[in-house]
């Protein structure tokens, strides 16, 4: 490449480098690894001349130590990443349809400091080669010769091994203008240097991996191995004359070992400054709060001489015993030289306070060091928690320790150490290849796992109840059975056959028969009290939805007396991802549900609703833990349902089946069940309504329809028909089934719109297809028009006819709700209906304004075809 000495040359070079990088981006992992290896080998071979050049050019540091740093940058970095995948697909999981692909970032700008001018250049160029990035190096003017030479050696070896020409570049005549331009023109900046440089990098507008100043405080605890601790500090502090940013700047020693530590330092060739020598060295090392450039990387002897202090020539470190950790104390600063502060602390707490201040004032986020007996877990944990540093090294020299892989083999080897937000950095780890890649994640569409969850046992057929109950005694050996029912059923002898059967088997039993419609928490609490006193191992809930729901709630409170209904009733988007974990049920009692009406399907559903009578709050609970263990569907219990109940609960069954069939969660498992339920209702509800007990066959088919529809919506869930009906029923005291029927055909027209404002969100729900789904139902019921629309119209007409037959009024108004009352509650009902748990599974995601329109149409009994236009 041509020399880069001015802005124009730089811009030309950057264009060439971008071209080179485009080519490099197409290289395979094998090609890249070959280049990476050749470059590392070349850098490694040149480690001695490069180190000597660095010392000669900068006049700082120790050649032998710089040799180690170069060796480290070449060998450890290669070793760390030799097998790391950095090209193409990194990970793939076909089952989940996800994979990650590595892409290079492009052109990396690297700013290289004077303190590590060759090793950092080797480190950064190797990382860029491994990641297929181009790198432009901005050396420090004071070290440009050796930095450029290091880059050149890596570059030539890389090109010889097949890398594109111009993939590594450098500024021959560095200036701030060019450094800034390089940063602006690059795609990412690897900035190693002082705070000014790092800030400049961050303000360039390009993503920057910047690192910052360190002021590593060491604590030597009373329990530390003193010889190891002191010699580790000396080993690290003298390394390259103290220029590594993770080097120790101060040691805080616990009072009881202070003298011993001091003696060891002295015995190993460190010099303790006396009297005014401390101030002399302090003023030499620190000028106006900054470190004197002339002492950086100089030997202890040279610095002492500059300060006018006479010390032996082989002195390793100048130690100042000082008291203040305030920045007004020169020794409290980062000194970039073999000059060390030493503090005495009476307690470990005092030592922590000192270290905390030294970190926050001098090197937030960088490194802290601790020497301690590692059995002192509490102290170590406290130290780790108090130090705002991204590296906390224990029992090791911090310079060699902080750069990783020398004294700990999981700390990533790196010459660029992130300092986190404390140090104003974007990263808090040791920089590695993953920081120089853009990782693409390819995610393919996958369908959610679905399920079919039912009670363990569903027994049915007329007269099956005593046979099924027999199992409680003969198979399960239950001893104590608690029956939950309502007063009407109890007084009319419905409990008697159960009690007789239990007596016959010698099962002790008790009965709570105070359940009222829309069961209240107060009622459930009373039942639970009796239940807790009785301590049943089996609960039988006999009745309609109310008794079965109340039974479920009592079951929950009996098994888990401390449950919180607010938590349990928390809405969820996906029942598998809900925040609340429902408590495990069935540890104390087995739950048997015996329906006496054909409607709710509660005997096979995981749902229950309870109302707090004092506040009016309704808690809809939903969790498969609430699923009964056994359902006994015996039509003998249902023969004498009153007409109104037959009508309301019968149309409720139809709504369950219709909504489950068009739900976004509908599946093949639930579809068949739902279709069958619709047919049974169409075929048998009219007679069951008209003839009641006189047509036991119709009753029996309706019982099956109810349970089938329950099974369908227990797994496919419902939709906005129920959302609207729940609130309409609650605000205007309309029976649930009737409320469902009043909005049913409007909701169907609305859902069937092939161009909905918004569709429901679920991976299985691929596009709006509700019209087709309704047509499936129509055709299954023998309704076939000339096209889908006509078929759908036939279904609607048949539903209208059914409603009429079973005495459902034509509108909410006709049911007897006053217009002013309805309108007064409309907005609140709308918002609450929108927020209903059932809304989420609706095939069309509704707007509140749309729900309001549906309410209004259903109120005035408008032509349902208007709902198709919403």
């Amino acid at each position: 490449m041509e020399k880069i000495t001015n802005v124009e040359e730089l811009e030309n070079a950057l264009a060439l480098m971008r071209k080179a990088q485009e080519k490099f981006a197409t290289y395979s992992q094998e090609q890249v690894d070959e280049i990476f290896k050749a470059a590392a080998m070349a850098a490694n071979k040149a480690r001695i001349p490069l180190a000597k050049m660095a010392v000669a050019e900068t006049g700082m540091g120790v050649a032998e130590d710089k040799i180690i740093k170069n060796h480290y940058a070449a060998e450890y970095i290669y070793n760390k990443y030799r097998y790391t995948k950095t090209c193409g697909v990194l990970e793939e999981d076909p089952a989940f349809g996800i994979k990650t692909i590595a892409a290079p970032i492009g052109l990396i700008a690297a700013v290289i400091p004077t303190t590590n001018p060759t090793s950092t250049a080797i480190f950064k160029t190797l990382l860029c080669l491994k990641t297929r990035n181009a790198i432009i190096i901005s050396p420090h003017p004071r070290a440009k010769g050796c930095t450029i030479e290091a880059a050149r050696i890596v570059y030539e070896a890389a090109v010889a091994a097949g890398a594109p020409e111009d993939i590594i570049g450098w500024i021959d005549e560095p200036s701030l203008e060019m450094t800034n331009l390089v940063m602006k023109e690059s795609d990412c900046i690897l900035a190693t240097g002082g705070p000014g440089m790092v800030r400049a990098a961050y303000s360039s507008g390009k993503p920057a991996l910047g690192v910052g100043a360190g002021n590593t405080p060491v604590i030597i605890d009373s329990t530390a191995d003193i010889k190891m601790a002191v010699n580790s500090v000396i080993h690290s502090k003298t390394f390259d004359n103290g220029m590594i940013c993770a080097s120790e700047q101060s040691v805080t020693v616990l009072a009881d070992i202070y003298d011993a530590v001091k003696a060891e330092f002295a015995a190993r060739g460190c010099y303790f400054l006396q009297g005014d020598e401390i101030a002399k060295v302090g003023q030499t090392v620190i000028i106006n709060g900054g470190v004197n450039a002339r002492i950086v990387g100089q030997s202890a002897y040279t610095i002492a001489k500059m300060a006018g202090v006479d010390v032996p020539e082989k002195t390793k470190i100048l130690i100042g015993e000082v008291e203040s950790t305030d920045i007004s104390e020169p020794f409290a600063h980062e000194k970039l030289s073999p000059v060390l502060a030493m503090y005495k602390a009476e307690t470990f707490e005092e030592a922590l306070c000192k270290a905390e201040q030294l970190v926050m004032d001098g090197g937030p986020g960088h490194t802290a060091s601790l020497f301690i007996n590692t059995n002192e877990k509490e102290k170590m944990a406290e130290h780790a928690s108090r130090m705002h540093t991204c590296r906390i090294v224990v029992n090791m020299p911090s310079a060699q320790g902080g750069i990783g892989d020398i004294y700990n083999f999981k700390l990533v080897p790196s010459l660029t150490l992130g300092c986190g937000s404390w140090g104003g950095n974007s990263i808090s780890h040791n920089v590695g290849v993953m920081d120089l890649l853009n990782i693409k994640t390819v995610a393919e569409r996958r369908e959610n796992m679905l399920w079919l969850r039912l009670p363990e046992k569903v027994y049915f057929k007329r007269g099956c109840m005593p046979v099924a109950l027999d199992e409680l005694g003969t198979v399960m050996h239950k001893k104590r059975c608690f029956i939950v029912t309502d007063t009407f059923l109890y007084k009319n002898g419905y409990v008697k056959p159960i009690e007789d059967k239990l007596d016959e088997m010698g099962i002790v039993h008790a009965c709570f028969y105070d359940v009222a419609p829309d069961p209240t928490l107060q009622c459930a609490l009373e039942g639970t009290k009796q239940m807790a006193a009785f301590e049943p191992d089996c609960i039988i809930a006999l009745g309609g939805g109310s008794a079965m729901d109340a039974g479920k709630i009592m079951w929950v409170m009996y098994e888990h007396p401390d449950v919180n209904f607010d938590d349990m009733a928390m809405d969820f988007m996906d029942i598998r991802k809900r925040v609340y974990t429902f408590p495990e049920m069935g540890k104390k009692a087995y739950f048997v549900a015996i329906p006496t009406s054909s409607g709710t399907g509660s005997e096979v559903t995981p749902f229950a609703i309870i109302t707090d009578a004092t506040t009016g709050t309704k808690w809809p609970l939903a969790d498969y833990e609430l699923m009964p263990n056994m359902a006994i569907v015996d039509v003998d219990n249902m023969m004498n349902q009153p007409k109104g109940l037959t009508s309301a609960s019968g149309i409720d069954v139809m709504t369950h089946a219709l909504e489950a069939y068009v739900s976004v969660m509908a599946s093949d498992m639930t579809d068949g069940i739902a279709l069958k339920a619709t047919k049974l209702v169409f075929d048998y509800l009219p007679s069951a309504y008209i003839n009641g007990a006189k047509d036991p066959t119709a009753r029996e088919h309706m019982a099956m329809a109810s349970t089938l529809a329950g099974e369908a919506f227990a797994n496919a869930f419902l939709g906005i028909n129920h959302s609207l009906a729940h609130k309409l029923g609650a605000y205007h005291h309309i029976p649930h089934g009737v409320a469902n029927a009043l909005v049913l055909t409007y909701v169907m027209r609305y859902n069937a719109n092939p161009v909905p404002t918004k569709m429901g969100t679920f991976p299985q729900y691929e596009y709006p297809h509700t019209l087709e789904r309704y047509c499936d139902i129509a055709r299954y019921n023998g309704l076939v028009g000339k096209d889908d629309q006509e078929t759908f119209d036939l279904l609607i007409a048949k539903l209208e006819e059914l409603k009429k037959t079973i005495g459902i009024p034509a509108s909410i108004k006709e049911w007897g709700i006053k217009e002013e009352d309805f309108l007064a509650t409309l907005d609140e009902m709308t918002e609450n209906a929108f927020n209903d748990q059932c809304t989420g599974a609706n095939p069309r995601y509704p707007l509140m304004s749309e729900l309001k329109e549906l309410y209004l149409m259903a109120y005035y009994g408008k032509d349902t075809r208007e709902a198709a236009l919403i």
Binding site: L176, G193, G194, I287, N288, G289, A293, L336
Partner: protein, 249 residues
Amino acid sequence: MANREIIEEKSYKTVYREGNVIVKEFTPSHPKSDVFNEAYIHTCVEEAGVPVPRIISVEPANGGWALSMEYVPGKTLEQLMKENPDKCGEYIEKLVEIQLEVAQHRVPKLRNTRYKLEDVINGMTEIDASTRYELLQRIHGMKRHTRLCHGDFVPSNVLLREDGSYCILDWAHASSGNAGADAAITYLRFCLDDPQLADTYLKCYCQKADMAIQYVQTWMPIVAAAQLAKHKENERELLEKWISVAEYQ
């Protein structure tokens, strides 16, 4: 014509009082643009509502140019400090308070301190390229502020009237930038003239400004370099020491 009372004489200018007017008369060799620039800066500051002597005219005089402004009666803080050495602490406090009030003003028409300093450092030959690089990098890393900076805020430039109100003189070096830089300049001037007062000043300033001493210190190598550019031999040793500060790495 009223009596002409010479106040100050320098190689490039003479300052004299004539009745209620102070005239700064520059020698013909003094760049015309400098005279107009000083008048411009001074006027900008005057318009911003800072208490300064009102500019009356800029006009040709004896082949050069003369800048006239109103005479403001009173004593400078420097005079007061000399007259009442025991009250030095109080006057320093006063100086700091006034400096902070000045820094409350924004005069966006003025040149930014950073660019001024960058220009000075770029043009210096007395320091090597590496040092210039580091100093420029240091400036570059500073936050971008736009406070009114006097640029030579020393006791001799602050005049107190008898009623206690103040008036600030000599706006030739004013700029828009970081208050910390302005404080660093004042601290440097104290270090050069009266080192004993320097630390008193810095502590007082940082306390009243609620500013970290390190922040002011970060500016010191930069302002020291700018001062070095004035080529005062007696200041050289101290300034070179101040400039030679490495950035932490």
